[in-house]
Amino acid sequence: MINIKFNGAEYAAEPGMTILEAARANNVDIPTLCWLKHINEIGACRICVVELAGPGSLIASCVYKLTKFDEGKNFLTHSPLVLDSRKKTLQLLLSEHNRKCLSCVRSNNCELQTLCKELGVDDETLYKGSNGLGVDIDDSALHMYRDNSKCINCRRCVAACDKQAVGVIGANYRGIKTDINCAFDMDLSSTACVSCGQCINVCPTGALSEKDNTDAVWAALADDDKVVVVQTAPAVRASLGEAFGYAMGTPVEGKMASALRALGFNYVFDTNFGADLTIMEESNELIERVTNNGVLPMITSCSPGWIRYCEAYHPDMLPNLSSCKSPQQMQGAMIKTYWAEKMNIDPKKIVSVSVMPCTAKKFELSRENQSGQGTEQDIDISITTRELSRMIEKAGILFNKLPDGDFDSPLGAGTGAAVIFGATGGVMEAALRTAVWKLTGEDVNSPVEFKEVRGVEGVKTATYKAGDLEVNVAVASGLSNAKELLEKVKSGEMNLHFIEIMACPGGCVNGGGQIIVPSKIRNFTDIRAERAKALYSLDVSRGSLRKSHESPDIKKAYSEYLEKPGSHKAHKILHTKYSATNLSK
């Protein structure tokens, strides 16, 4: 231990801790803009400076690791020099910042705005600069835009993209002209961006945001000729509450269903149905591949960010991808075929909306080989959890006061297996619940919980015995972890049957479309674990309905329409194809 002081008060710190972490442990919160624990530790923004008493020098506390040489030092975390310096840094940032704060999508959830208030920046026009004028907005991608007039060059997005092993953004030019963008000023859509949206989640300001598609939803809701249906992905209910003051990890499934009805959706479905369907098809495909010498390991295909990554960076692995569509797309296909027929509604009159924790879903819905009924897009509009929260706010719906509502049947019911899709390892566990049941001769007492694949570690492996078969599985979330795992598979170091890969670290609960958590919380809370808890609690609350194949609605869908998993009809409606892309990496 090292004895240091904060503002004169003695404190013992562990060697290797940063000053910022030591201060935090001593109940002093040092503000930051660029620092993201383990992701972006570059000491660039200079907001976190503290003063070393005596020489009066300033130190970036986020990157300064304490050693025995710091014994006895007194760090001042709010001396006049420190506070003046932080204020000046903010004023300089504001001189280059587009201060259209009133209408900014991040107003009230902007880290720059919050700091300006906290540090008493009373004169935001002290320095006259460009205010971001004359900056082009890159809205070329389907899922997001970049408005560098609001960029403060913190480089968190760059680090997040690198962490995803994608790395299509970086700093161009230098000095005052420094510009975070794609290489050679390429449009984002020309690059092998995988649309995961992790960059948006870490942006402290409104420089990065999802493409807002809520206007199209409002228009559909106002159109009496349309039947507007909505589905909600499992992970949405684990994050939506945060927008309305609920603690992280509070499941808000019932209120979410009520809010959607209050917004005016004609039918409120649950992607959990699509997830159960995915398990039926995917576990069938896995058993087929294992028993008929198919391409192994089979890799899940639920995450469109992962699919884009695979197509661009590991095209040699495409034959390993499950041909199953994602739950969103299966659900969408079933709405415009099975359900439309059942309800006798012309699919052309249906506007199918999805609420997703994901920005890549905005891209996925217009992919080729996705249409279940043949011509139309199965999903018309995909909005993120954030967009839904804004719609609820806009409509003045008092979310917290809503009673718990239900989903519509038949496409609204989901098992516990479906709801855990939103956490890393969830798809694997759900698939195992059904595959092991099938491989053990449809034993009703087959296991429900496969805890080895749970948790936030980047790569998890396990071996399960099912009948005579030993199944080697692995789960990876976050694309750098996926990359590491794939390299081991390719080199033969790992011999696996089934792999689950999710593009976002921690899975969909930490998806690029979820409620944005400021770094102040993000750096000290494991969002992935907190939100996953909500889903696992919902799984348990499903009681006896925790395996996909036991869902009455799923059984009905097969008996009434799809025949059996892997049937010709199921293939036509629920499966897809992939192709390698050659975009700039």
Binding site: A44, R46, T67, D84, L92, S95, G175, I176
Partner: protein, 505 residues
């Protein structure tokens, strides 16, 4: 019979006061012939270190420490101490590196270039000695691509050294291996900063990283690394051969040896000079430098380039060494020495140096990226005649903020020229603001061109030459300049040389 008396070149004041250690071979040997370097005791120091059993790495470091050699790149950190730290801080490191900073980028400075082009083997020999001392088998020379001749000669020299067994495996059959590679810089000034240089060698965008960790602990590719500049290395073989006592005979108490300066600006003998530490600025300017051209008056000298400060005439008798220069708000820097006379405007000079750092800021940290630009705009406000007295305080505050808050040395020193020119020549800044006058007649916006009525003969040459038709007047009548149209290009003055009727004031 009478004989013509000519002085030996060595007896001219220019050479007499110089002491050539780092530049000892420049111009004397053919840098493309290793034999010539060997002929002037080249590679003797390396041979001695590697073959004489008494020269342990620790002893080599002791000699360098005892010599008092300090980094010639600007910082002035003890070279021996740097080597000692790199040797000892992580004793069991599997890999260490020796790097050379040859990314000389100060405007008007070319000390390193001279050594690289004139005596490349000295650098190779010194880096190999350094490798032996700290326990490294690989070196990198980070060389700016704008020095093509230096690249060529260094490549030739490395090839020859390898051929002679002076680089590579088992040098002098001592069992010691050392290899050297050149890495070309793409022209960013910031890559002279040690962490940025290493990031650039690693193949990434050249941007600095926060220190600690220092390179001695975690440098190139995360391994213990030393980085010295070319001139520092150029001293090493001589120090080893002649001993630290010899080296300490030159210089002042805390700054030993010599320093190469690139004399530039308003001085008769422009070019490289190598002087013992402790020589006064007056001797450098008036003896070695031969004084100021056209009988003009010395106003100030800028050392340390865009990171340094100016020395005004009141300090002209200061003895040049690391600590003295810092004590008067300047710094040694890598050796640029720009002399200014009464025709230099100090606000304009501050703007000139600051513009350089604004352009060369890497853009990583806020104070340097935005702060220097805003500071530059404040100076522009003053030179354009729009300055107010409050601006001076605001400028000083922003300067202090940038110095304290910037991530790396570039930003931390960028305001130095502004601060020192403001404190040494405050009345000049005030005059720009209050009187809207630039005494040196440099700041165009504060100038007026006027035709003196008593001298004008009405020849109309100026009227014809004016590109914006700002001059009116009939032939043989007095002419006048319309100030609202005048763009202050100065063409009219040149046309009126015969009569001298047009003045700027």
């Amino acid at each position: 019979m009478s004989c013509i008396q000519t002085k030996s070149l060595r007896n001219t004041v220019f050479y007499k006061k110089q002491e050539r250690v780092a530049l000892r071979n420049c111009g004397y040997i053919d840098p493309e012939k290793i034999e010539q370097y060997i002929g002037v005791d080249g590679y003797q120091a390396l041979g001695m270190v590697l073959t004489d059993g008494s020269f342990t790495p620790e002893k080599v470091i002791e000699i360098v420490k005892a010599s008092g050699l300090r980094g010639r790149g600007g910082g002035g950190f003890s070279t021996g101490m740097k080597w000692h730290l790199a040797r000892t801080i992580i004793p069991d490191a599997d890999q260490k590196y020796v790097c050379c900073n040859a990314d000389e980028g100060d405007p008007g400075a070319f000390m390193d270039r001279s050594v690289l082009e004139g005596d490349p083997h000295a650098l190779i020999e010194a880096m190999t000695i350094a490798g032996y001392a700290i326990g490294a088998n690989q070196g990198y020379i980070y060389l700016r691509a704008e020095y093509p001749l230096a690249v060529k000669r260094l490549e030739i020299a490395i090839g020859q050294a390898k051929e002679y067994g002076l680089l590579g495996k088992n040098i002098f059959e001592s069992g010691f291996d050392f290899d050297l590679e050149i890495r070309l810089g793409a022209g960013a000034f910031v890559c002279g900063e040690e962490t940025a240089l290493m990031v650039s060698i690693e193949g990434n965008r050249g941007e600095p990283n926060p220190r600690p960790p220092f390179p001695a602990e975690k440098g190139l590719f995360g391994k213990p690394t030393i980085l010295n500049n070319v001139e520092t290395y150029a001293n090493i073989p001589r120090i080893i051969l002649k001993g630290s006592d010899w080296f300490t005979t030159m210089g002042t108490e805390k700054s030993k040896g010599t320093k190469v300066f690139a004399l530039g600006g308003k001085i008769n003998n422009t070019g490289l000079v190598e002087i013992p530490m402790g020589m006064t600025l007056r001797e450098v300017v008036y003896d070695v430098g031969g004084g100021i051209p056209n009988g003009k008056k010395f106003k100030a000298a800028q050392t340390g380039g865009p990171s340094g400060g100016c020395i005004s005439d009141k300090n002209i008798d200061i003895e040049i060494d690391y600590d003295n220069l810092i004590s008067i708000g300047s710094m040694m820097g890598s050796g640029g020495l720009i002399v200014m006379d009464e025709d230099n405007c100090m606000v304009d000079m501050a703007k000139f140096f600051l513009e350089f750092t604004v352009e060369e800021s890497c853009g990583k940290c806020t104070p340097c990226r935005i702060g220097t630009k805003r500071l530059f705009e404040m100076l522009e406000k003053i030179t354009s005649g729009k300055g107010e007295m409050e601006d001076l305080d605001e400028i000083e505050q922003l300067c202090r903020y940038i110095k304290k808050n910037s991530l790396c040395g570039l930003g931390q020193t960028a305001p130095n020229p502004v601060l020192s020119m403001m404190s040494n020549f405050r009345e000049e800044w005030v005059s720009h603001i209050k009187d809207k006058k630039c005494a040196a007649k440099v700041c165009v916006d504060l100038l007026e061109y006027k035709i003196l009525a008593d001298k004008c003969v009405g020849c109309s040459l100026c009227k014809k030459a004016c590109p914006v038709d700002a001059i009116s007047g009939e032939i043989k009548q007095k002419h006048v300049i319309d100030q609202s149209k005048c763009i202050k290009c100065g063409v009219c003055v040149n046309t009126c040389k015969k009569f001298g009727a047009i003045i700027k004031e």
